[in-house]
């Protein structure tokens, strides 16, 4: 039995990508010349005991940690054409199964891997990147020593329980209610999802920046609703979908950015409002500690209606 993603799941994922990659597209930091350490535990051997894949971990002391939940290395190049609402640049190419699609290729400028001399750049065709855990995976043909990468400063998660897994700033996308009604004579539904975005910042300034940025990114805006026919952009292990099978030709594997077929138009964001949440919590003893650890000290909430129209 095969089952397709439900509309709610596609909308949730599409909102997630829109917030993370477009709205918070400027909240990206760079970590330069970070040493890479070979991990024998994570690497795998073939029958004759030789390494089949070699895994290198980036040793960073950056705070917040770039590979905490909801962050990760940047896997898309910045948008250079189209409108401000455009999620990704697009190319036409062949998917792994030979089907021609319009899609978005993996980044080519956001991660650079160097050899031990710190100058020679290793071609991207020689390795695969685990964007979630911050690792470089090779087939043993090269010895990467340093990496320079861009990473998402804001942790974006879609469940409340995951907030504590990362240091602030954390943004939680919470779709918590649905109203369904008609909009025309005949088939079709108007689906209104109630969405809250909870912002957990590490100080007032950061909270204000995030609230304003996200609210402006939603007010009078709309976004593409993706179909995700082959799953999400990243595979379960944090690598670009399909890149493990053919790292030599990254254009073979495009994120298929096809929109869903049973919808009319884009996802619209209506009734966008925001307010700060000031809770009467006891602060921890040292001011510094409060700044780093008290997730609830600098909170805000953005509420909006996510409106879509289905054909049937």
């Amino acid at each position: 039995m095969t089952s397709e993603m439900t509309n709610l799941r596609k909308e949730d994922l599409s909102v997630y990508y829109y917030i993370k990659n477009v709205v918070l597209g400027n909240f990206i930091e760079i970590d330069e010349m970070v040493p890479l350490e070979f991990s024998a535990e994570l690497s795998s051997c073939n029958i004759s005991g030789e390494y089949e894949s070699e895994v290198y971990i980036a040793l960073t002391d950056m705070l917040p940690n770039p590979t905490e939940r909801g962050r990760g290395w940047v896997y898309l190049d910045p948008v250079v054409s189209g409108t401000g609402c455009e999620l990704f640049d697009t190319e036409v190419g062949q998917r792994a199964d030979g089907v021609t699609v319009t899609g978005t290729p993996e980044q080519s400028t956001m991660v650079t891997v160097y050899e031990a001399d710190g100058v020679t750049v290793i071609p991207p065709t020689e390795y695969v990147i685990d964007y979630l855990d911050g690792r470089i995976v090779t087939s043993g043909t090269v010895q990467p020593a340093y990496v320079t990468y861009n990473w998402h400063y804001v942790s974006v998660v879609d469940e409340w329980a995951a907030i504590e897994a990362a240091d602030p700033p954390v943004v939680v996308i919470d779709i918590h209610g649905t109203d369904i009604g008609g909009y025309q004579i005949g088939p079709g539904k108007k689906v209104t999802r109630k969405v809250d975005i909870h912002i957990f910042a590490s100080n007032t300034a950061e909270r204000n920046d995030l609230v304003e940025t996200i609210q402006n990114g939603l007010y009078l805006k709309s976004s593409v609703l993706f179909d995700f026919p082959l799953g999400t952009i990243l595979d379960y292990d944090g690598t670009w979908y399909g890149s493990k099978d053919n790292p030599g030709n990254k254009l073979t594997y495009l994120f298929d950015r096809r929109g869903v077929s049973n919808y009319v138009g884009y996802m619209n964001f209506d009734n966008v409002t925001s307010r700060h949440v000031n809770l009467p919590l006891l602060m921890t003893r040292s001011r510094d500690e409060v700044m780093l650890s008290d997730l609830n000290a600098y909170r805000s909430k953005i509420s909006f209606d996510l409106v879509t129209y289905t054909k049937w």
């Binding site: 409340w160 329980a161 907030i163 504590e164 919470d174 918590h176 209610g177 809250d196 909870h198 957990f200 307010r275 949440v277 809770l279 009467p280 919590l281 006891l282 602060m283 921890t284 003893r285 500690e289 650890s293 008290d294 997730l295 609830n296 909170r299």
Partner: protein, 210 residues
């Protein structure tokens, strides 16, 4: 002729206002009931030691009093504006309402309940805080929420002899609980019919009385 129309209009307005007020009183009572049903069913705490149990009479009664005191109807020149309580307009200030606000807004992370006295025992000085959760108690009995960090755990072990002495805040790491949204839904579903009923009753009364 104009004066007759004006007088008739004023009489009808007066009757309609009376009918609306009468029906709105019942409507508001129903809204409070709807919210309290949500409150009682969603804010359940099993830990009997918890001092922040929202079903304790002092919290529940205070919350209900605030619902009763809420300004649902605001009169304007052209009629009235009906407002249901929500997280933006509800009064959470003072007394023990800080607890309720915390619960309804959701809390990320693990917290423990600490009284003023326990705080002094653990850290040797009076508590520092932005705001008390419960202002109607003497300072040493007031309850505060502290993030359950390693510092707090160490102090707890040193002073009280074990980790786990302090009561864990039952709504730790809990997303917002949307108790007040029940009111919004109830108003959206029923306000229009209430107005229709009031208008038809007022019309009947007007015909009878004029």
């Amino acid at each position: 002729m104009d004066k007759v129309i004006e007088k008739t209009s004023k009489t009808y307005d007066k009757i309609l206002k009376e009918e609306l007020n009468k029906n709105l009183k019942n409507f508001i009572d129903e809204i409070i009931d709807v919210i309290m049903v949500e409150y009682d069913s969603q804010l359940v705490v099993n830990d009997r030691k918890s001092k922040t149990n929202p079903l304790l009479p002092k919290y529940r009664d205070e919350f209900m009093d605030r619902l009763i005191d809420f300004n649902y109807v605001k009169e304007t020149i052209n009629g009235f504006v009906f407002t249901a309580p929500d997280m933006d307009n509800f009064d959470f200030s003072g007394n023990c309402m800080g607890i309720i606000q915390n619960i309804l807004e959701g809390t990320s992370g693990i917290y423990v309940e600490v009284t003023g006295e326990e705080y002094e025992q653990m850290f040797g000085k009076k508590r520092i805080t932005r705001e008390e959760l419960d202002t109607d108690l003497p300072p040493k009995d007031r309850v505060y929420l502290m993030r359950y960090t390693s510092n707090v755990r160490n102090a707890e072990r040193n002073v009280f002899g074990k980790v786990g002495y302090l009561t864990r805040y039952p709504f730790s790491n809990t997303p917002p609980i949307r108790v007040l949204e029940a009111a919004d839904e109830y108003v959206n579903n029923n306000l229009e019919s209430l107005i229709d009923i009031s208008v038809s009753r007022a019309t009947r009364r007007f015909k009878r009385e004029s």
